[in-house]
Structures are given as structure tokens and as C-alpha cells.
């Protein structure tokens, strides 16, 4: 029997779930219902709805065609392409008979040079096949956000110490919402394109790292400042050749080191942001590093590659332990208390747990334990749930696990308890969207004291805060 059958029933038609208080699953009318009738815990939370008209005009690859082409002379054209897009593009412009009608000699030379370089590129792609995709394609391939390239919210991140949330919108702006102030800071600079991930720096009120195509941008947003659009002088761009596009950034829980990963780079970089220096961590095999997760006490890093290999790095000696997933690459992983990590492989409906890897229990024989099977089923109400996992999130206390699925659109939340190094998973509740909303991405609030609060970005651009309140004396 599937675990989903023991979940509480979905809210009826015209109703939606607002929160869960102790064992009560609180639902209300979609239009008139209000979460404040059940709890005041999210009253101060910023109310966010990212509508399309909020987006600023973006100069992307698609709307370049909107502009009328101006006829320049050939040399100017080539130099401008060289300046903007690089040498190879300039060569292809020079070799293109439609553009270059004036100088035949140049066109022929350029085409021959192009052939030689193409030979090298094919050889390089043959050796390193993971480099084949270009920037945004890599990000959207590996992103844990549903429809990353077209969704209105690309990623969200809660501040570790205060009620402050940052979200990256489709126009690659990062918007910072705070519980105390009504205005929204919008972070935007020229280098910030194709934002893939956000991470607030622990033990700092102002610093946020943004992973984007060029590299990592670390913003310092003064919480006392009234500027809604901080200038780009508050941003530090950290980049390195070959490390692009950045698919994930994460701060160490101590707030001193920043790890950035790129799906196209076989090494992950550990940055000392103050000194702007990076040290690469690399081992043979595995392809590009897709994402990395720090354990809660900063003693380990889980690094997933684009192949079945993943590694658990020890942060004292900086040596990895190599693991292989069955079948496919790891899509999502999250750390909980006592150094336990949960992970899920792509297109497989099973969550695995890995704890105390290799130290306590006689080293070599440790295996990842499957903890919950989320095979796709149809509920009595007709909704489908489960299937291959898209994203997972574990609340900071390690008591609730939220799972998002690739093919079905219900988010399922499980209660998790750790006893004697064993994880027991019990059903908690489902969260569904209003009308045809589909969950895009989600994150647990980091400083919610009354239980856990899951924030979900729906495809409509609405951000829902779903508190799961648990009182001791209940």
C-alpha cells in the first residue's frame, strides 16, 4: 500500500489548505478564506505576488530581433561582434557570405580558420561531453525549479536569522521582501543574467550570493537603507574562466566560505569572499558539479555531479567519499540533524537516506537506505500524486520533509523523526495550488519558532506561506 493513502484527504472543491495546526488540517474557501482565521504566526510575513507586469523589460536572446538592423561597414561589424560575443563569433561573421560580400579573401581565410577551430571544438566536446550545452540550457537542465526558463519565480531563499525572503524573478531581478518594511529592494546589475540560485550569508544581515551565468554576485543590501534599487557598487562579481554558468551557490553555515558549482565545470570552487580568492576542489570522474549542500554543522558537503557519481566531502581534510547512485544523477539532496542526508535520483520515486557515512558502522559496507517510496498513485479524489522527484526540502529542525514531483502537482509533506540513527517517515499533509497552479519551487523558513513554515512559489507568481504548527503541550 502506498504511503499516500494514509494522508489526510485533500480539501474539497472550492477550498484550499492554509495551514496545519497540531493534527488539524485547516482548509478554507479559496476566495473568502483567510489564513489569519487559523493562526497569526504568518501575519507579519511579506505577502508576495509576482505578476507579469512587475517584470522589467529584459534584453534576452529572443527579443533581440525586435530591433531594426543597422547596416554597418564590415570591419565595424566584425569588431563589434568580437567585442561582444568573442573571437569565434567574429570569425563566423567574417566567413558568412550573406554578411561579408566585400572581401572574398577574408571570407575564405575566415572559413578555413573556422574549420580548424571547429575541429578542435569537436575534439574537446568528444573529450568533455558535458560542456556541449550552452549557458542557460545547462541551468534549465539541472535546475530544481519547474520550467526554470519560463517560470515567473526562478528561485527563493529565506534568510537564516530573520523573516526576510529573496526571490529571483523571470527578468533576472532579485527582490528582497522583509517582514518589517513594506518596500521591496530590487537587486539588478548588468552581469546578473540567468539566475540559478540564491543564498543568504549566515551571521550577516545583508549579504546574499546570487548564482548566475557569468559567475557569483555577492550583494550587500543594507537593511537600514531606504533605497529600493541599490547600485551595483554594492555587488562583488566573483568569476573564473571555465566556471560558467553557475548552477548553485551555497554558504557554509558558519558564513565564512562560499561554494559555487557549475554544471559545465568539473571542479567546485570554495570562495573566500572577502579576499575574492577561490580554491577549486576536483576529483577524477563524474562530470560537472551540479549542486552542493553543506551539512548543518558545516562538517560535510554533499556534491552532486551530472553523472551517477556523487561525493560527500569532509571539510576538515577536504577529502571526498565517492558514492554512486543507481541509474541516474542525483536531483535533490538535503541535510538534517545528526549529519543525515536525504537524496533522490532523477526519474526514481524513492528517497534515500545516508547517515554517518563510513565512520561508525564498519566503513566500506555502508549503503544508502531507502526511507520512503513515493511511486505515483491516484488518490480516491482523482488527483495523482508521487512519481519521480523534482525537489526536496527538509526543515531546519529535521521534523518535516516536503517533496515536489516532476509529473504530479501536489506537494507532499512528511513528518520525519530520527531515532537511533533510523529515520521514520509518516504522512503529514498535501499542499495543492488554487485552480491550475503548479508548484515551481519551495523553501522552508529558517527562523520559524512555532514549527515549520514552507513557502511555495506557484506558477501563477503567488508565494504561499504554509505554516505547520506544533505545540509541545498538545
Amino acid at each position: 500500500m502506498s504511503i499516500f493513502n494514509s494522508f489526510p484527504d485533500l480539501p474539497g472543491p472550492g477550498e484550499t489548505a492554509f495551514c496545519k495546526i497540531n493534527q488539524t488540517y485547516c482548509c478554507g474557501n479559496v476566495r473568502y478564506g483567510n489564513i489569519t482565521t487559523f493562526t497569526n504566526s504568518t501575519k507579519q510575513h511579506p505577502k508576495i505576488n509576482v505578476t507579469k507586469d512587475l517584470h522589467h523589460h529584459r534584453l534576452s536572446d529572443e527579443n533581440i530581433t525586435m530591433y531594426v538592423d543597422v547596416e554597418d561597414n564590415l570591419l565595424k561589424k566584425i569588431t563589434s561582434v568580437w567585442y561582444k560575443q568573442g573571437f569565434l563569433e567574429a570569425l563566423s561573421v567574417a566567413a558568412d557570405p550573406n554578411v561579408n560580400r566585400e572581401s572574398q579573401v577574408l571570407a575564405i581565410t575566415a572559413s578555413y580558420v573556422l574549420k580548424v577551430t571547429n575541429l578542435f571544438t569537436t575534439l574537446r566536446y568528444f573529450m568533455q561531453p558535458h560542456l556541449k550545452d550552452i549557458g542557460p540550457k545547462i541551468v534549465s537542465n539541472y535546475s530544481r525549479t519547474r520550467n526554470w526558463s519560463s517560470s515567473s519565480v526562478k528561485c527563493i531563499a529565506w534568510h537564516p536569522h530573520t523573516t526576510k525572503i529573496a526571490l529571483a524573478t523571470a527578468d533576472d531581478n532579485v527582490r528582497v521582501y522583509c517582514s518589517e518594511v513594506s518596500f521591496v529592494s530590487t537587486l539588478k546589475c548588468k552581469a546578473q543574467g540567468h539566475v540559478s540560485s540564491l543564498s543568504w550569508r549566515p551571521y550577516s544581515a545583508s549579504e546574499i550570493a546570487v548564482g548566475c551565468e557569468q559567475g557569483v554576485i555577492v550583494w550587500t543590501v543594507d537593511p537600514n537603507s531606504m533605497f529600493t534599487k541599490p547600485s551595483s557598487s554594492n555587488a562583488v562579481v566573483l568569476k573564473r574562466s571555465g566556471h560558467s554558468p553557475v548552477t548553485d551557490v551555497s554558504w557554509s553555515p558558519n558564513g565564512d566560505l562560499l561554494v559555487s558549482c557549475s554544471g559545465a565545470d568539473t571542479s567546485m570552487l570554495v570562495w573566500d569572499v572577502g579576499m575574492e580568492t577561490a580554491i577549486p576542489l576536483r576529483r577524477v570522474a563524474g562530470g560537472g558539479i551540479v549542486f552542493a549542500r553543506w551539512s548543518l554543522n558545516a562538517s560535510k558537503i554533499f556534491a552532486a555531479t551530472s553523472s551517477i557519481i556523487f561525493r560527500v566531502w569532509d571539510t576538515q581534510q577536504w577529502t571526498p567519499e565517492r558514492w554512486c547512485a543507481r541509474g541516474c544523477r542525483v536531483v535533490a539532496a538535503c541535510w538534517g540533524p545528526k549529519d543525515m542526508v536525504l537524496f533522490a535520483a532523477k526519474s526514481e520515486p524513492i528517497v534515500y537516506a545516508l547517515s554517518n557515512s563510513g565512520i561508525m558502522n564498519g566503513a566500506k559496507t555502508t549503503k544508502a537506505q531507502p526511507v520512503v517510496d513515493v511511486t505515483k498513485v491516484e488518490l480516491p479524489s482523482g488527483e495523482a500524486v508521487g512519481g519521480p522527484i523534482l525537489d526536496m526540502s527538509w526543515d531546519p529542525t529535521g521534523s518535516y520533509l516536503a517533496v515536489m514531483y516532476e509529473e504530479t502537482h501536489l506537494i507532499s509533506v512528511f513528518c520525519t523523526t530520527q531515532m537511533m540513527m533510523q529515520l521514520s517517515v509518516t504522512p503529514c499533509c498535501f499542499i495543492s495550488g488554487i485552480d491550475n497552479e503548479v508548484p515551481t519551487t519551495m523553501a522552508f523558513q529558517q527562523n520559524f519558532t512555532e514549527g515549520a513554515c514552507l513557502s511555495i512559489a506557484w506558477s501563477s507568481g503567488r508565494i504561499q506561506h504554509f505554516p505547520i504548527i506544533y505545540t509541545e503541550n498538545y
Binding site: 550577516s204 544581515a205 537603507s225 572577502g274
Partner: protein, 561 residues
């Protein structure tokens, strides 16, 4: 040199051994690749082995050992002396010609010469010897190419010396994460090779230019001394030089020289910056507190780094800090450690304060002249039967502190002379040479900020882990002191960054110093956040100074940028 710790010298020796091994491997690889012969692989391999085990190779290894000992000496003296304090252009200029630098430049030139001849002999070129038998005359002729290469080697050594010692800052940078040595070397080796080939281009070009202009002089000297003839076309002609192709050889050997120097630099850095574990209490080994107490020395760097690491990852040693001494039940370990940490932080703070005070000197100067001369209170003698509890030393100290102003002719003349000197220094031409350089003082202070960062972070982590691990509550007692020290450091750093408050001479132009400043500020803020957030529930129960309390208020509210 000998004042420095045993640890440093041990590591230097270790580095030399590592370096010799690595350089030998490099040399063997070079021999292997130069003799490449795909058609006759067996002869290729046998001839390589013959060469490797020949007396020439062993001589070369001895030479390599010598060279790396030179380097170790250079490194030792480079890192052991505190960063020079040259605040005027003239002192910087004079320093270039110090005895030490002259010795160094000679050593480097010799190093370049040896390395060059070593590699050229390994490569089996015929440019090792200066003499050959003349073809057209009867007698000995000069091989100018070898002369060109040998002087070139010295040139490269001198070039590297000027670039890295005279115009570069010699700061040992510790990596923020320390991987295994082998991994570190593996990561940088390809970078080193490409850098070596790139960086040798400019000195080779300069050298060719130099030889074109002055090349005939050394040639004539050498041919006079050895009474040699010259039968080949002279190399100080551009066309001859290019057509002889010797510049390619020079470039190749110069690249090898740079590669070997960079390799050595990396090996030294890797070996020297290895973190080390100091015991908390020990009778024979150096303890953490002793290591920390050697301010500005190499050991204090290691100590501070160890403090940071232990505060996060070593519960066993943390537990030792929180224990009481037996017998006596005193928190000796903690007090000792805290004293040393606070000393590091406060000393640094004082230096910053003196910089900050500079900006206010103008006002103070006016005030002291206008204000009434202070009357030193005469120490009241205790009379009668009351015993004097204050130690007489304290009284003496007090009297010394009050400045005695005596108006004699000598002081007046002295003042006049000083003010005249100051005026003179402000004249354009003179101030260029003798005026204090912008930002050098601040730069000098900030470059030493690394151990302060580690100390702050380490102390903050120990303090916050004390909430759960400290059974006797010994850390709690010192919480206000720690917070006060952090707050005052933060305020002093803030003053440096506030625009308008900083006088022009302290505006930083140096990228490294600017980064150091922001990194230090960020470290101090993080440390404050760490303590404040950990103790957030009890923060109002800690007996804090009102000033400190107001200063940490934004941290409690999570509003400090």
C-alpha cells in the same frame, strides 16, 4: 633568523627536501622528453636511464639542492623579518641598496646562472662551454651563444628578484582551505607551466635589447681573459641574433627557470602554510597560548589558524579549555588563552586607533595650546597610622604620565627646528622624496590583519560553544570583555571606511589592503553576530557597558549591514 621558532626552521628544511625531490622529477621528465625518439623506443629509454644515472645528473641534483637551499635562505629571511616600514619614498629608495638586497640579488643571479646551465646541459645542447676549437684559425674560439645564455640566466634571476622582492609585497598568504599537499601541487602544476612560458617572454625581450646595446662589452672582456678569438658573426646584431635562433633556446630555458622558481615558491607555500595542532596544556610542547603570544611571528599565524579550526571542529580540545586546573580549581587554560587573544585584538585596535587619531590631531593641537596648563596633582602622602595599600609603583606611574612642560631655550629651539623641518617637507620637490607616503602606514597595519581575523572568529566560536559545553560557566564571566573588544575593533574599522572622516593620507589605493580591511570587518561582524545570536535569549542578563549595549543593539535586531 634564530629568534624564530623551531617550527619555522623545521618546515623550511622539509620544504627544501620536498623541493629537491620535485625539481629532480622535473629534470628527469625534461631529459625524458628531450630525448624523445618514437622510432627507437628502446634506445630512447636506455639513453634516458643512462643519463639519469650518470654522474652529470647527480652533480645536477647537488646543484639543485644548493639552489633550493639558497631559496630556503631567501624565503626564511623574507618571511621572518616583519614587513618593512618605509613611509617615505627616500627610505624606500635607500632600502633598495641595503646589504641584504645586494646579497639577495647576487644569490638570485647565481641561481639563474646555475639553473640555466643545468637545464642546458641536461638538454645536451653544445652551449655549455665557452670555448671551442676554431675552424679557420689555429687556437681557441668563443662560443658566443653560451655566453649569451649564461648572462641571460643571471639576467632572469635579477629580473625575478626585482619583480618579486623590490616591487612586490612579501606576504605569506594562507589558503582558506587546506587540501592534501599532493592535491594542491597537482592543481597548480599546469598553471605553473603555462605561467612560466608566458612570464618569460618579456624578460627575454628585454634581455635581447640589452644584449643588442651592451653585448659587445662582456664579450670582449671574456675573450680577453681567456684569449679567445671570435669567428662566428657577433650576436649583438639583430639579424644575427634572430637567425642564430639562440633566443628560442633562451626563452625555453628561461621558462624552465621560471617554472622551477614558481614550483619552489608553491612547494614552500604549501609546506609552510600547513595547519598545525597545538596542545592546550603541555609541559614540553609549545601550547596554543604561547604560540599566540608571539605576535607578528610565524607561529602566531599558525596559532591563530589553529584557534579558528579548533573552535569549530575539535570538541575535545574545546573541552580542555573549559576545564578547571587541578589543584586550585582555576580556569587557567581559558584565562591564558583569552589574555593572548585579547592582546592580539587590542594591539591591533590600538594601531588602528592611532591612525584614526591622526585625523583629529589638528583639533587636539589647537586645544592643547589654548587649554590651561594642567597642574600635576602632588601625590598625597598617607600620614598617621593608615597603611598605604597602593603600591608605590603606581604612584610613580601616575607622576610619569603627567607631562611636565618646561620652557627652556633648548626646547624652544627644538620646536622651531621641528616646525621648520615640517615646513621644508611640504615643499613640492622635497615632499616627493621625504614626505610620508599616502596610506603606507595603514597598508602596513592592514596587511598583518590575517591572524586578527582568525583570532576573532576563533574566540567567537569558542565563546558561543561555551553556552552548551562550558559546565563551570567560566567563559560567561569574560563575555563583556570579549564583546567590548570586538565592538571597539568594529568601530575603529568603521571609522576607516566612513567617507569624509578619513583624511586623505589614509585613503587606500592598495587592492590587497582594501580587501583585507573588508574581510576583517566582515569577520568581526560575523563574530559579533555569532555571539549575539547564540546568547540572544540571555543578552540582557549579561552585565554590559551601556556603550557596548547600544553598539550591539543592531546585531540583536539583525539590522547591522
Amino acid at each position: 633568523m634564530e629568534t624564530k621558532s623551531k617550527i619555522f626552521s623545521q618546515r623550511l628544511v622539509k620544504a627544501v627536501i620536498w623541493n629537491i625531490c620535485l625539481q629532480t622529477i622535473l629534470a628527469i621528465l625534461l631529459v625524458f622528453f628531450i630525448q624523445i625518439d618514437l622510432i627507437h623506443p628502446i634506445t630512447w629509454i636506455t639513453s634516458t636511464f643512462n643519463d639519469i644515472f650518470s654522474w652529470k645528473m647527480s652533480l645536477n641534483i647537488v646543484l639543485l639542492g644548493l639552489v633550493s637551499c639558497f631559496q630556503a635562505y631567501l624565503y626564511g629571511s623574507q618571511y621572518s623579518m616583519p614587513v618593512p616600514k618605509y613611509f617615505t619614498r627616500i627610505s624606500m629608495f635607500l632600502n633598495m641598496f641595503s646589504l641584504q638586497n645586494i646579497i639577495f640579488s647576487t644569490l638570485y643571479a647565481l641561481n639563474g646562472y646555475f639553473t640555466m646551465s643545468l637545464y642546458s646541459s641536461l638538454a645536451k645542447s653544445n652551449f655549455n662551454v665557452l670555448k671551442k676549437k676554431c675552424e679557420n684559425y689555429d687556437g681557441q674560439c668563443l662560443i658566443e651563444q653560451s655566453l649569451f645564455l649564461q648572462i641571460g640566466g643571471m639576467w632572469m634571476g635579477l629580473h625575478y628578484f626585482t619583480k618579486s622582492h623590490l616591487f612586490g609585497a612579501a606576504v605569506l598568504t594562507f589558503p582558506h582551505i587546506y587540501q592534501e599537499k599532493f592535491q594542491q601541487i597537482k592543481l597548480v602544476i599546469s598553471n605553473i607551466v603555462s605561467m612560466g612560458f608566458q612570464h618569460s617572454i618579456t624578460p627575454v625581450a628585454y634581455y635581447c635589447l640589452f644584449y643588442f646595446v651592451w653585448g659587445n662589452k662582456p664579450r670582449s672582456v671574456v675573450s680577453d681573459v681567456y684569449s679567445l678569438y671570435l669567428e662566428d658573426p657577433p650576436l649583438d646584431n639583430i639579424i644575427n641574433l634572430i637567425s642564430s635562433g639562440i633566443w628560442i633556446g633562451l626563452w625555453f630555458y628561461a621558462s624552465l627557470f621560471f617554472i622551477s622558481i614558481y614550483t619552489m615558491k608553491t612547494v614552500f607555500n604549501v609546506v609552510l602554510t600547513e595547519p598545525m595542532k597545538f596542545p592546550i596544556e603541555s609541559n614540553k610542547d609549545m601550547t596554543l597560548a604561547t604560540a599566540l603570544s608571539e605576535r607578528l611571528q610565524f607561529t602566531s599565524y599558525l596559532g591563530a589558524l589553529d584557534l579558528k579550526n579548533l573552535s569549530r571542529t575539535d570538541p575535545a580540545r574545546r573541552g580542555q579549555i573549559f576545564t578547571l586546573s587541578q589543584p586550585g580549581r582555576h580556569p587557567k587554560n581559558w584565562n591564558n588563552l583569552l589574555e593572548k587573544c585579547l592582546y592580539i585584538i587590542n594591539e591591533f585596535n590600538k594601531e588602528l586607533e592611532s591612525i584614526n587619531r591622526d585625523s583629529c590631531t589638528v583639533d587636539n593641537g589647537i586645544q592643547s595650546k589654548v587649554g590651561f596648563p594642567k597642574v600635576a596633582p602632588s601625590p598625597t602622602r598617607y600620614t598617621g597610622s593608615l597603611r598605604n595599600m597602593a603600591s608605590p609603583q603606581l604612584l610613580e606611574l601616575k607622576t610619569q604620565n603627567t607631562t611636565i612642560v618646561d620652557d627652556t631655550l633648548a626646547t624652544a629651539v627644538k620646536d622651531e627646528f621641528n616646525s621648520f623641518l615640517q615646513k621644508l617637507c611640504q615643499k613640492p620637490g622635497i615632499s616627493y622624496f621625504f614626505g610620508e607616503l599616502v596610506d603606507t602606514k595603514l597598508k602596513f597595519i592592514l596587511i598583518q590583519a590575517q591572524p586578527v581575523m582568525w583570532t576573532c572568529e576563533g574566540l567567537a566560536y569558542i565563546v558561543s560553544s561555551s553556552l552548551k559545553e562550558d559546565q563551570y560557566g567560566i567563559v560567561q564571566h569574560d563575555l563583556p570583555t570579549v564583546l567590548a573588544a570586538f565592538v571597539s575593533l568594529k568601530q575603529n574599522l568603521d571609522k576607516l571606511t566612513k567617507p569624509g572622516l578619513v583624511p586623505r593620507k589614509h585613503i587606500l589605493n592598495d587592492a590587497l589592503a582594501i580587501k583585507n580591511r573588508s574581510a576583517l570587518l566582515s569577520a568581526v561582524k560575523r563574530s559579533l553576530y555569532k555571539i549575539v545570536l547564540t546568547f540572544s535569549k540571555y543578552i540582557h542578563e549579561i552585565p554590559l557597558d551601556p556603550d557596548v549595549l547600544t553598539a550591539i543593539q543592531p546585531f540583536i535586531l539583525c539590522k547591522e549591514p
